[in-house]
């Protein structure tokens, strides 16, 4: 079996599971598979053995474009200088409700 591809060349897929209708899919992990259909079957076998989900998404890891925390300060500016974007910035008198 010298012509078999070594495992590291089998594409990596990221797996997302919707645990319940109405909720977002959440990233749960990754796995190797030859194609997307196989990735879906593997994800089913690996990540939903205990009824963890009602829907699975698989996405090739190489197709995910990700930012890094340390990329640049401006890309992920915590906006600490803009406290007025939060409701707590505004003083509402105790007598007033439903605001």
């Amino acid at each position: 079996m010298t012509d078999m591809m070594p495992l590291y060349e089998v594409p990596l897929y990221e797996v997302f599971i919707r645990s319940k209708r109405g909720l977002d899919h959440r990233h749960v992990g990754s796995l190797h598979a030859e194609d997307s259909e196989q990735a879906l079957e593997y994800a089913r076998d690996v990540y939903t053995r205990r009824g963890e989900g009602v829907s699975i998404w698989v996405v090739k890891s190489s197709d995910i474009v990700a930012s890094q925390e340390g990329d640049s300060a401006s890309f992920y500016d915590p906006q600490d200088d803009k406290p007025y974007r939060h409701a707590t910035f505004y003083k509402v008198p105790d007598e007033v409700s439903n605001l």
């Binding site: 109405g22 803009k82 974007r85 003083k91 509402v92 007598e95 439903n98």
Partner: protein, 319 residues
């Protein structure tokens, strides 16, 4: 693969709605449900975007740098809300282009309140307090709408919206504690924005074209009149604290029910504004068309840049 016939899929859909389960993008759904959703969600999206205009009018004239920064952040949020809603609508198979075309050609509506002009700085306060206040009442209810992506967009929007109403009320409070002229300005804004705010909830339940079906599909969870009552009940005490008068001689607390009774909305005005003949309808739409056309070169440049990079990648791959 089992071949489900239409009645079986319909039964499964009905069972999900009945069981309070959310419908998700890849589920089978009746065409009419899909069409109704595309109409409602895209009109909600258009409202967020058109709603930027009356407030945007005051960004360059805000009385202080602090108020300007706040208003800028709020208008920026509204653009984001439009984006969430357009994207959620696209999960139903509608293209962004078709939605914008429908708006430009007058086939799609948006909240009629944004066809009123923002004449003074107090209007910015009144919009945040009343218009966002009314929108929040509606959107809290829609967090339980039956279409998953719409419900999730509502959760995100309500969370971000919490500052909008408060900044508006704070502007009103500042004016009402100010000079006589400032108090008069706040009163004038309330006078002009009160009735259009009540109209935001739409026609009476009995006269609402889409209500019954939307309630059955659980797209709407509370009726127009229920939501309107909730808004009045929560807003009247807020106006009392400000010390300004709601322009409705029939407004009174009904001790028996604990709810406020209020006068009849001028439905002719509502119909006039909804059908395109309000104070600013033409201006709002023309501005949106112009902004869209003026932005065409940006979209074209981004596309040309992408094409150039793809061509370069092809050359590099070949060498």
């Amino acid at each position: 693969m089992p071949d489900f016939d239409a009645s079986e899929m319909q039964a499964r859909f009905d069972a999900r709605i009945g069981a309070e389960e959310r419908i998700e993008p890849k589920d089978w759904m009746p065409d009419a449900y899909r069409r109704n959703l595309i109409r409602q969600m895209s009109q909600h999206a258009h409202s967020e975007v058109i709603g930027m205009q009356p407030e945007g009018n005051w960004i360059s004239r805000a009385p202080t740098l602090k108020r300007k920064a706040i208003l800028l952040a709020k208008v920026q949020d509204e653009a984001g809300h439009g984006l969430y809603l357009y994207s959620a609508t696209e999960t139903l198979g509608a293209t962004r282009e078709s939605l914008v075309d429908a708006l430009h050609e007058g086939r799609a509506k948006y909240a009629s309140i944004f066809n009123y002009p923002s004449l003074t700085w107090a209007d910015v306060g009144a919009i945040g307090w009343l218009v966002d206040g009314a929108a929040i009442v509606n959107q809290i209810s829609l967090q339980r709408t039956s279409y998953g992506p719409y419900a999730r967009a509502m959760v995100r929007i309500c969370k971000e919206e919490s500052f909008h109403m408060r900044q508006g009320y704070e502007i009103m409070l500042t004016l009402c504690r100010g000079s006589n002229d400032q108090r008069a300005m706040a009163q004038d804004a309330l006078d002009r924005w009160w009735w259009p705010s009540l109209m935001m909830f739409g026609p009476h339940d009995a006269e609402s074209a889409h209500s019954a079906q939307s309630m059955q599909w659980k797209l709407k969870r509370q009726s127009n009149d229920e939501l309107r009552q909730k808004f009045v009940d929560q807003t009247v005490p807020q106006a009392e604290y400000l010390g300004i008068r709601i322009p409705d001689p029939k407004l009174r607390l009904d001790a028996a029910t604990g709810h406020y009774a209020f006068g009849e909305i001028d439905w002719r005005e509502f119909q006039r504004v909804v059908s395109g003949d309000g104070p600013c309808n033409r201006e709002r739409l023309a501005h949106h068309v112009r902004a869209h056309d003026d932005g065409a070169w940006v979209r074209e440049a981004a596309h040309a840049y992408q094409a150039k990079r793809a061509a370069r990648d092809r050359v590099e791959a070949a060498s």
